[in-house]
Symmetry: C2
Subunit: 240 residues, 2 copies
DNA sequence: ACCTGAACACCGTTCAAGT
DNA sequence: ACCTGAACACCGTTCAAGT
């Protein structure tokens, strides 16, 4: 159902030779399949971004006619859905150690979540518009289970899950939209400096230049988990 | 620079009469201007969503040729940028009471932020791909100033701001993507129930049916603020 | 200074047809 | 069961031209 990670293999050099001799090498492509379509869509998205994914370009990359895709897939929307979910496959659920360190486990899960999306920057901008696929649901399930075992009361569970989810999504999306190239960022900060009467505080704190995203993510997550843990102490089983 | 809130006025009936007598009533349109373009773009986005905004349709609504727009605007991207920022205008900065209740002030700002975006659902899905406009920067500035006055040390300021921003963005975007129509949500939960061996925990907590988004947003925000306040107690001035 | 029509190089998708 | 080409109704944007 979900595409495996075959997408990354030798993309760079392939693209060069492609652009030099555009429509050559029919090299007996393997037959079309949903897996190949999704994997190639991810490749294309990685290379060209959201606007770069075109049914026609996708077909070309697959060595088939654009119309062939429509036998395997209802429409372009479905390609987006499948590509997004395929990128969010989670390798880790049936872990060995049911470590009693729930907080460490949660942090690990969420950092992996974020890392998966950052590996494919288009995924963050796509997610707001797409449905929740099976891999996303699996991650939510695992997160739920971990929190539940940690003693979070059922009544608080959904709030906890959505809070963490919101934070991860927001952090990932923000990084994609704020983390411009170095040049852009410097230009943005300079523009801010020019307008420093209007934005004195964020100019002074160099908000747009602060690019320790990983550290910031981790610290903010700790704040949130502090709040969660504290609430948990008050209202239910105090630990294990 | 930013469009005022003229967008909402009588849109519904306007659309009906439009679709009945498509290309009539030249009614001496006012001349094109950036303001009118942006306001009409917001109208169109509200009515038809992100994919509904087309340079050609926008021009039609404005009673002009598609090409006229390009005198006022570089390209479609710029229309998106301007429409997004115009929707995030913040009315409240020079408040009367410099209330010493920093936490209440922060909550109010963030709830308004979220509400502004929810009023225009396309804004959440647009933001990940767009630059930060002046109105967004104003909101960040005000948030910074409030936290700074509340005693957050300069070194912690950026982490605090990004944490809150991330949370608001994530919550807003999530609501847009998860909060389907009632029918869809029930269908999703049923699908989950059918697969309850695979997702037992989130099926049991009815994660996808829990639609008290406002309450959940507020509670999660409180967790985050608890964490921030606690950290603040430890590291710097303890209050005021 | 402001607006326009014709034209170009693209899109997603339907349909009727091929094997 | 799987794939295809021609065609339709759109796109954003360039360009040369109008007032």
């Amino acid at each position: 159902m979900a595409a495996k990670r075959s997408g990354a293999r030798g993309k760079r050099s392939e693209r060069i030779s492609e652009s030099l001799q555009p429509t050559q090498e029919p090299r007996s492509e393997p037959p079309l399949s949903l897996e190949r379509i999704v994997a190639t869509a991810v490749e294309l998205l990685d290379a060209q971004g959201v606007d770069g994914l075109t049914m026609r370009r996708l077909a070309e990359r697959l060595g088939s006619s654009p119309m062939s895709l429509y036998w395997h897939v209802d429409n372009k929307e479905e390609v987006f859905d499948l590509a997004l979910d395929s990128v969010l496959e989670y390798p880790g659920p049936p872990q060995i150690a049911e470590s009693r360190d729930w907080r460490g486990a949660v942090v690990h899960m969420l950092e992996d979540w974020r890392a998966s999306m950052l590996r494919h920057p288009w995924s963050a901008s796509l997610l707001p518009r797409r449905a929740l696929g099976p891999n996303i649901l699996s991650r939510l399930e695992l997160l739920s289970k971990t929190l539940s075992k940690a003693g979070v009361a059922d009544a608080d569970l959904n709030v906890a899950i959505w809070s963490l989810w919101n934070y991860v999504m927001g952090a990932t999306i923000t990084r994609g939209s704020v983390d411009l190239s170095d040049d852009d960022r410097v230009a943005a900060q300079q523009r801010l400096t020019r307008l420093s009467e209007r934005y004195p505080t964020i100019e002074r704190s160099r908000l747009l230049l602060d690019n320790d995203w990983d550290g910031t993510f981790r610290k903010g997550l700790d704040f949130l988990l502090d709040g969660l843990a504290r609430d948990n102490e008050h209202s239910s089983i105090p630990g294990r």
